[in-house]
């Protein structure tokens, strides 16, 4: 049993690895900076947002340093949103590859999720190192806390990716409304506010959203105690675990229904 589980895992690692490399080549090609785009793309997004917020003078409105606020907020959005967006409708363009038995629905999702979360994490890390070393922002007060918050957000991205990927195959309606949902989730996700700024009733409401806890935790690690934060790592982990199990069950159902040409 253990031997066959080990074998299955090593096949899966091989297949996900192959899909990852293929994805990098098909998406970014071999021209100019190639695979580096997977980090450069989220970096440019985050830089753009940080510049916009800086120019808008948001840094004069609160004690929070605006550059660090933009980087923590926007990087967080990018992890879960890109992971879910890239997984949705991911099966069809890869259908021909499923003529190889070992290539499974879940492998296609996993490869895309890994690509997005690794890209977003690298972009977040590089921007932090860059801005902190040139003095545009302070070094994180508690890097370990920030890192754990970030990892929990990546886990959330994994669960959301599996769910969005499967649901977009199982239901056409979901595929259509998904973009509306992500659009609405962006301002609610904690990226553009600190929970502490909100009235108590609104705090209660947004804290139902798992990713809000992740962003708060990352900012707690970055800003220390400049602003009180309201995260519950336990709530986020529980939500992640539940959503991951739902995502895996949905992916299994999707695999049963996929039809090759």
């Amino acid at each position: 049993m253990n031997a066959s589980l080990y074998r299955a895992l090593s096949i899966q690692r091989r297949v996900v690895g192959a899909l990852l490399l293929r994805e990098v080549v098909t998406r970014y090609g071999r021209h100019n900076i190639g695979a580096l785009w997977m980090v450069a793309e989220p970096m440019l997004f985050t830089l753009g947002i940080a510049t916009l917020w800086y120019l808008a003078g948001l840094h004069t409105m609160s004690a929070i340093p605006v550059v660090a606020f933009a980087i923590t907020g926007y990087s967080s959005v990018l992890t879960w949103r890109n992971s879910a967006n890239r997984c949705s409708k991911a099966i069809e363009p890869n259908l021909s590859l499923m003529y190889h038995r070992n290539v499974q629905v879940i492998d296609i999702f996993l490869s895309r999720i890994i690509l997005e979360t690794v890209g977003a994490s690298a972009s977040f890390l590089i921007l932090t190192l860059l801005f902190a070393s040139i003095g545009v922002m302070k070094w994180p007060a508690d890097p370990l806390l920030a890192a754990i918050g970030w990892l929990l957000l990546c886990w959330f991205a994994l669960a959301l990716g599996l769910m969005a990927g499967s649901l977009s195959e199982l239901s056409e309606t979901f595929g259509r409304i998904w973009h509306v949902i992500t659009y609405l989730l962006f301002p609610l996700s904690g990226a553009v506010f600190m929970v502490h700024w909100l009235p108590p009733a609104a705090q209660q409401a947004v804290l139902w959203l798992p990713m809000v806890h992740g962003v708060e935790m990352v900012r707690h690690g970055y800003f220390g105690n400049v602003v009180p934060t309201h995260e519950s790592p336990f709530y986020l982990a529980t939500a992640n675990l539940t959503l991951t199990l739902i995502g895996l069950a949905l992916a299994r159902e999707t695999a049963k229904r996929v039809q090759l040409e």
Partner: protein, 216 residues
């Protein structure tokens, strides 16, 4: 050994359920050369896909105790925007072989020359088929699934394929589905007909052929 146990396959269509395979049981031993005759739409390709494991049966169990190829002569398992080489690299990684050790073989066998470095979507159907066949021969399997061999290329290339597959790999297990009895008669030692979702076994090619002919 490969064993199919009470395999059924049903598709849901606009006009209700469509039963393609109906409680099929079949055992294939190592070294068997099984030919399955069936008309268009009899469920041959579905059976091949279930054997290869790329499509799950609606009910029943498949036991595989040897490595099984993907359906040969099938030129669809490619990513169009990738080059021939990149597609080969991907498939090699999926099956855990070192592509460098077989690149010369694929290059040589497919006769694609500089087109190996062009995206597969620019290939003609003949070029795709050549690449598909060359890659299937680069990765060794215990059992080959063959869906209408005649689809591959011109007669000279077809001869080369048959030599590579049936002579050099004569010791392997083969499962061939076709609507043409000639190929099956030439390469197989077990014969059956797939008709209305059921498998009917025959001892000799001629009796399978006679039975098949009366349904034509």
């Amino acid at each position: 050994m490969i064993e199919l146990n009470e395999i059924s396959k049903t598709y849901t269509t606009q006009s209700g359920r469509h039963h393609v395979l109906d409680h099929i049981s079949l055992t294939i031993q190592r070294g068997d050369k099984l030919g399955i005759l069936g008309r268009n739409g009899a469920g041959k390709s579905t059976l091949i896909r279930i054997l290869s494991g790329i499509e799950p049966p609606t009910s029943g169990r498949v036991t595989r105790r040897m490595t099984i190829s993907w359906p040969l002569a099938f030129a669809g398992g490619f990513q169009g925007s990738l080059t021939g080489i990149d597609n080969f690299k991907f498939i090699s990684r999926v099956y855990g072989i070192d592509y460098r050790s077989k690149l010369d073989f694929v290059d040589d066998f497919s006769e694609l020359g500089k087109f190996m470095r062009e995206p597969v979507k620019r290939y003609s159907s003949g070029m795709r088929a050549r690449l598909a066949f060359a890659i299937s021969m680069a990765i060794e399997f215990d059992c080959y699934l063959i869906d209408e061999v005649s689809a591959v290329g011109d007669s000279r290339f077809r001869e080369k394929c048959e030599n590579e597959l049936f002579l050099k790999r004569g010791d392997r297990t083969m499962i061939i589905v076709s609507h043409q009895p000639e190929q099956i008669r030439q390469h197989c030692n077990r014969f059956c007909v797939l008709e209305k979702g059921k498998i009917i076994n025959f001892d000799k090619a001629d009796s399978a052929y006679d039975y098949y002919a009366q349904w034509q």
